[in-house]
């Protein structure tokens, strides 16, 4: 059984899922940051492969990916980091976020490699349902979860199909726009999650722009099974590049506060 399924089936427990760009700002520091989040109590992690042109990401994640690539991070390096994390945390649900072209270039062997290093689920932010047939087939064939994304303007009927097409979980984009911390959300975002909740029992995870533990709690309360916080952490990294200990500490505190 997919580790995400196991996580979402824990009764009464909602998941908190930190997102990190693999290799930001360097491979070694990235490992330490990710470990800090996991060790502080994260229920799962979502790990992004850096891409030269991340069109669905806001400035914070763009810079995060750029730092990673500039430090020499490669596709293989990302795969190896995942292998390492898996070795350290055998039960941790690990999801990947990739831009479609990276997978495309790697070719179909990518899926076997992911399975081999212990990836639980994959999402591509630029691969909509209609184009994801073969991708999902291959994930399925390798026992990896498939994640579809629901946008704020996705019609209900289509949302149902997206949930249907997901295994592991469905990624609910919290608001219009790209990734990046938002100071506040329209009430609508929370209501929308509640409405989606009514469509299905399958796991829903909310992400994009969430940056406070209150926001996390709001989405949990609206019925989300999990919440992803990403660019808020990237921002902490960026602000503390000369002393990443500070970033780790703040990440640790954030995760502990959310989980407490």
């Amino acid at each position: 059984m997919n580790r995400f399924d196991a996580a979402f089936q824990q009764p009464g427990r909602k998941s908190f899922i930190p997102f990190f760009t693999l290799g930001d700002p360097t491979r070694a520091e990235s490992m330490r940051l990710i470990r800090a989040a996991i060790d502080a109590g994260a229920d799962a992690v979502e790990l992004g492969f850096p891409f030269s042109d991340p069109v669905t990401d806001g400035p914070v994640n763009q810079r995060s990916m750029r730092r990673s690539l500039s430090s020499g991070m490669t596709y293989n390096g990302c795969v190896e980091m995942v292998r390492e994390i898996r070795a350290l945390y055998p039960d941790l649900p690990i999801g990947l976020l990739l831009y479609c072209n990276l997978l495309f270039k790697r070719g179909e062997r990518a899926y076997a490699e992911f399975a081999e290093v212990g990836v639980d689920a994959v999402v591509c932010s630029d691969l909509p349902l209609e184009e994801s047939g073969r991708h999902c087939e291959l994930l399925d064939a390798h026992g990896i979860g498939c994640i579809q994304m629901i946008a704020p303007n996705t019609p209900t009927e289509r949302a149902a199909r997206l949930i249907d097409g997901s295994s592991a979980f469905t990624y609910v984009i919290s608001r219009f726009g790209t990734t990046g911390p938002s100071a506040r959300f329209e009430d609508d975002a929370v209501h929308r999650v509640a409405r989606l909740r009514e469509l299905s029992d399958k796991p829903l995870v909310v992400g994009f722009g969430i940056s406070s533990k209150e926001q996390v709690a709001d989405f949990w309360n609206a019925g989300a099974d999990g919440v992803i916080v990403g660019s808020y952490f990237s921002l902490l990294v960026e602000r503390n590049l000369d002393d990443l200990g500070v970033a780790r500490k703040e990440i640790d505190e954030f995760v502990r506060a959310v989980r407490s």
């Binding site: 891409f51 030269s52 042109d53 991340p54 069109v55 669905t56 990401d57 806001g58 400035p59 763009q62 810079r63 750029r66 690539l69 490669t74 596709y75 831009y99 479609c100 072209n101 990276l102 495309f104 270039k105 790697r106 932010s125 630029d126 691969l127 909509p128 349902l129 209609e130 184009e131 579809q148 994304m149 629901i150 946008a151 704020p152 303007n153 996705t154 019609p155 289509r158 997206l162 984009i173 219009f176 726009g177 790209t178």
Partner: protein
């Protein structure tokens, strides 16, 4: 006035094309598709479109027999004069089509990306004409290099947003426009600069630009009594080329050629020859050829012709290369600059650097063609914008 163009999702055996966009854009892309199909069948829309093309943009543009050039190269050479279009390049055909469509859809805000500024200027200009507010994303590096076009856009009332991410050039500006659209998808229409991107843009822009080919075909028949033997266009994203080819693609006797930028050298980031040196990938909404490294990271590119300085290409052209229906070759900065000067001196036309690529390839191929062959070259734009760069290049 237009060639019949099917809205196609996929092109060729390798299935180039598709719609690879964020889920946030799927609904609006469907909205664009529906609106376009409806508008194209709506006489009122098409009449308005034709009227604006004629009275605002100055269509039809002529085909000119290039007498002195023909004499020098021993083949009859004809030039399709998109350089005479309002705004100075063929881009205006598509910005008019797209902005009228945006109006038809009830969109109240237009965004566009621009490299050197040609598409941004065309969009801003058309927005002014139609009373639609325009915001343009432009790389900070390009803004620095192309102050004139920035101020021109501002004169048309458009807002220009500098993009500092990545290489701060066209690719990054496209990224940023896509991000804007993801954010403001309700009110906004993204006026894309070429026949590329996600479905339905490649076919839709082809339709808008098919006016180039459609006119040319009739003009060639009128002037020579026959179709041209070979047709040449330059390839940035591919809109002028596919628009020109549209009228000839079903005539197997008409050879189709495209010139892409060999730039300054073969170093990966010193050219932009996507068709001849790129590899398949998925980016900017489409499956097509791209300049990228072995892991799929997109490369920065170079061409002396800013409008060709793009690491991707429209999917239909990639398919036409595979099928052999069209032949693509790369033309260097140096050849371009020489032909730029030659056309100016022999025919009194300063071509855009982009268009000089097309002509350079035509002159390269001329002697391989039958002595009776007629050559049709799309002069996609005028070169006033390139004068300074020309003198820099020549060290004048």
């Amino acid at each position: 006035m237009f060639t019949h163009v099917d809205l196609r999702t996929r092109f060729g055996e390798r299935g180039y094309g598709g719609l690879y966009s964020s889920e946030s854009l799927v609904a609006v892309l469907e909205e664009v598709e529906t609106a376009f199909l409806k508008a194209r069948a709506d006489d009122a829309f098409m009449d308005k479109f034709k009227d604006v093309l004629r009275n605002f943009a100055g269509r039809a543009t002529p085909v000119m027999y290039a007498e002195r050039l023909s004499e020098k190269y021993g083949r009859r050479i004809f030039l399709k004069r998109e350089d005479l279009l309002h705004g100075g390049a063929h881009k205006t055909n598509s910005t008019i089509g797209q902005l009228l469509l945006a109006e038809y859809m009830g969109k109240t805000r237009i965004i566009a990306e621009t490299g050197a500024g040609q598409h941004g200027v065309a969009t801003a200009m058309t927005g002014a004409k139609l009373g639609l507010p325009v915001e343009v994303y432009m790389g900070a590096v390009d803004i620095e290099r192309q102050q004139t076009n920035v101020k021109r856009m501002e004169l048309f009332g458009a807002q220009v947003h500098p993009v500092t991410n990545g290489g701060a050039t066209l690719k990054d500006a496209i990224n940023e426009a896509m991000r804007d659209w993801i954010t403001n998808v309700g009110s906004t229409y993204h006026c894309f600069g070429t026949a590329a991107g996600p479905y339905p843009y490649p076919s839709m822009v082809k339709f808008f630009q098919s006016v180039i080919g459609n006119e040319s075909r009739a003009q060639m028949v009128e002037m020579t009594g026959a179709l041209p033997s070979a047709v040449f266009a330059c390839i940035g994203g591919g809109s002028n080329a596919i628009g020109m080819y549209s009228a000839f693609e079903d005539d197997p006797d008409v050879l189709l050629f495209g010139a892409e930028p060999a730039g300054a050298s073969e170093d990966p980031d010193r050219h932009a020859a996507t068709l001849t040196r790129g590899t398949p990938g998925v980016f900017h909404g489409m499956h097509s050829l791209f300049l990228q490294n072995s892991e799929g990271q997109i490369t920065n590119t170079h061409s002396i012709a800013a409008g060709l300085d793009y690491p991707g290409v429209g999917p239909e052209l990639a398919a036409m290369q595979d099928s052999g229906r069209a032949t693509f070759e790369a033309v260097s900065d140096e050849e371009t600059v020489n032909v730029f000067a030659e056309l100016s001196e022999l025919e009194g036309i300063i071509p855009a650097f982009e268009s000089a690529h097309a002509l350079a390839l035509a002159l390269r191929k001329a002697e391989e063609l039958d002595p009776e062959a007629t050559i049709l070259v799309c002069v996609s734009g005028r070169g006033d914008k390139d004068l300074e760069e020309y003198w820099n290049y020549r060290g004048i």
